[in-house]
């Protein structure tokens, strides 16, 4: 029972170990799914912005929980329940360290980024956005950072306004300063654009917004797997992200919120775990973060996420960022040399996403041909239809990178694009 004893005594969170040499071939062996053929070809997985693959350590952590640790948490006096509770909260502590939040109470487990954003819209949003008010989103948002706000604005009679971008896919800060004003109640922006790869200047956005006393909600789904995120340094008020895009399981995500804001917010969903006492006359809500965690949570998911963070820390997020940046530069250069290719999104600061179109060939056809070569890319509007309209295209091909991708895989993509040209010659 040593493992349980260790967990209950609160194992220190994952230590930041930066490996000196980044050995991609060695790292690939940590991801069993990569070692397979699809359509008779070696799998080249370049759809990481949709979801990343999972290292064996994450798969094992989830399996171990169900094999020997499963119990409901926060309510049992028995051994397994206490053990599972300890592991669940240890995962929260791992998340806290990973994004450098000030307190554990500021981290709420949710299903994913989408649920995190909906939570804010339906609690903070409903209390603070009223008739005639405005809220701002950027032109490059994912539907999950548009639609929850549209629903809110419709309910409250408020107006959703859009911060424009330039042709490179960069947010126009001066236009943002013109848009923000006394009627603005919330600003919601992506840290990294899923369709363009643009890294937005969150710190500057927050400074401007705070000068107007407006809180900032950050969609961090595409940032946390690729760049170091420090919520205290960013000074954002809310930050939502998903486990499955950062080598963790699907169905678990995190909403970070500043303690004071979370404390003042009404609950999102009612149910078990989020209460302190219930009578038919009056219910007292639980303390943070449990106030926002109604019902039995995804304990295995949280543990899997904790394992993913431990894994990412062992590789070193700065090493990951450097490796992916090199891949992006290499791929951008190689792709630009092909005739008829237009890269969508050429921001100075980009992360891990390469979106492009090819003259005369629809992205969907490119996707099918690449798939026959064993190459997985995403084609379509990437749940960001407004940005497609902004660039006057119906869809793009998107190759997105993870820590395990290689230059050889980029070469395979380029060879695949030559195959596309052959078919459509």
């Amino acid at each position: 029972m040593t493992t349980a004893a260790k967990t209950l005594s609160r194992e220190p969170g994952p230590v930041l170990v930066e490996s000196s040499a980044f050995d991609v071939e060695r790292l690939r062996r940590d991801f069993p799914i990569l070692n397979q053929k699809v359509r008779g070809k070696a799998l080249v997985y370049l759809d990481n912005a949709a979801t990343s693959q999972k290292p064996q350590a994450v798969i094992d952590a989830i399996a171990r929980y169900y094999q020997s640790g499963n119990a409901n948490i926060h309510r049992g006096v028995h051994f397994l329940s206490e053990h599972a509770t300890g592991e669940h909260e240890a995962a929260r502590e791992a998340v806290r360290q990973f994004v450098n939040a000030a307190r554990m109470e500021e981290l709420i487990f949710v299903r994913g980024t989408t649920e995190g954003i909906n939570l804010i819209a339906q609690t903070y949003g409903r209390e603070h956005v009223g008739a005639g008010d405005e809220m701002l989103v950027s032109a490059m948002e994912h539907h999950s950072n548009i639609v929850p706000w549209q629903i809110l604005c419709e309910e409250q009679g408020a107006k959703l306004r859009v911060i424009p971008i330039n042709d490179q896919g960069e947010l126009l800060l001066d236009e943002f300063e013109k848009l923000i004003g006394s009627r603005t109640k919330i600003v919601a922006v992506a840290h990294v654009s899923n369709a363009l790869g643009t890294i937005n200047p969150i710190r500057e956005i927050v400074k401007i917004a705070h000068a107007h006393n407006v809180p900032v909600v950050v969609d961090g789904a595409q940032a946390v797997p690729h760049i170091r995120v420090d919520v205290q340094d960013l000074d954002c008020d809310f930050y939502a992200f998903s486990g499955h895009k950062m080598y963790g399981p699907m169905g678990i995500g995190v909403l970070y919120g500043k303690y004071k804001l979370l404390e003042a917010m009404p609950p999102y969903q009612g149910g078990g775990d989020m209460i302190r006492s219930v009578t038919f006359e009056k219910t007292q809500y639980n303390t943070l973060p449990y106030k926002f965690e109604a019902g039995t949570p995804d304990v295995a998911g949280a543990i899997g996420l904790g394992a993913a963070i431990k894994y990412l820390n062992s590789v070193g997020i700065d090493n990951v960022a450097a490796h992916e940046h090199e891949l992006l530069e290499y791929a951008t250069h190689a792709l630009s040399k092909l005739p008829g290719i237009r890269i969508i999104g050429n921001a100075k600061n980009k992360a891990a996403v390469l979106s492009f179109v090819m003259e005369g060939v629809h992205p969907h056809d490119i996707g099918t041909i690449l798939d026959q070569e064993g190459i997985a890319v995403r084609t379509g509007h990437h749940c960001a239809q407004p940005i497609m309209q902004r660039f006057g295209i119906p869809a793009t091909v998107r190759a997105s990178f993870a820590l395990y991708n290689t230059k050889a895989e980029v070469d395979a993509l380029i060879a695949g694009m030559n195959k596309v040209r052959e078919v459509f010659a």
Binding site: G40, H362, D365, G380, P394, F424
Partner: protein
């Protein structure tokens, strides 16, 4: 393994590059829109119906090679046909692209070029988008058609 050449047959590539009846019909008395939200395909179909007969047909929009070629070849196939004949052809075409035609391609004529689609299940919706839109236009439905 499925072969790309089965999917992208010459006649399909040719129609996708130079679609026939690619125009708005001034004489149209029926119109329908078709969307494939996942791929961003979007077509508008114009029909000039004379009683039960498709006197003229045209389409406009954007989409992948399969959806565009399918729309183009569909307009050629149904022009001059009755509603019932067009619906029968849709039914036969649907069987063809979903692999239920049992090798019998005689009823669909030139459209047999789309038989390779059955090897690529995710592309069935591309091949049938125009046909669903035609069905909606014939029924006189006002709402846009979606393949999702």
């Amino acid at each position: 393994m499925a072969d790309l050449r089965d999917l992208y047959q010459e006649v399909i590539l040719e129609h996708s590059k130079a679609p026939r009846n690619y125009r708005e019909l001034p004489s149209a008395n029926h119109k329908a829109e078709g969307f494939n939200p996942l791929c961003g395909d979007h077509f508008t179909l114009y029909l000039d119906l004379d009683g039960d007969t498709i006197r003229d047909i045209g389409f406009q929009g954007s989409g992948c090679a399969i959806s565009k070629a399918s729309a183009s070849m569909m307009t050629q196939s149904v022009k001059g046909k009755s509603k019932q004949e067009a619906e029968k052809l849709f039914s036969d075409f649907h069987k063809l692209v979903t692999g239920q035609a049992n090798g019998n391609h005689a009823d669909v004529g030139k459209l047999a070029a789309f038989s390779g689609v059955s090897e690529f299940p995710v592309r069935v919706k591309c091949a049938t988008l125009a046909w669903h839109t035609l069905h909606a236009a014939l029924e006189g439905k006002q709402d846009a058609v979606s393949t999702e």
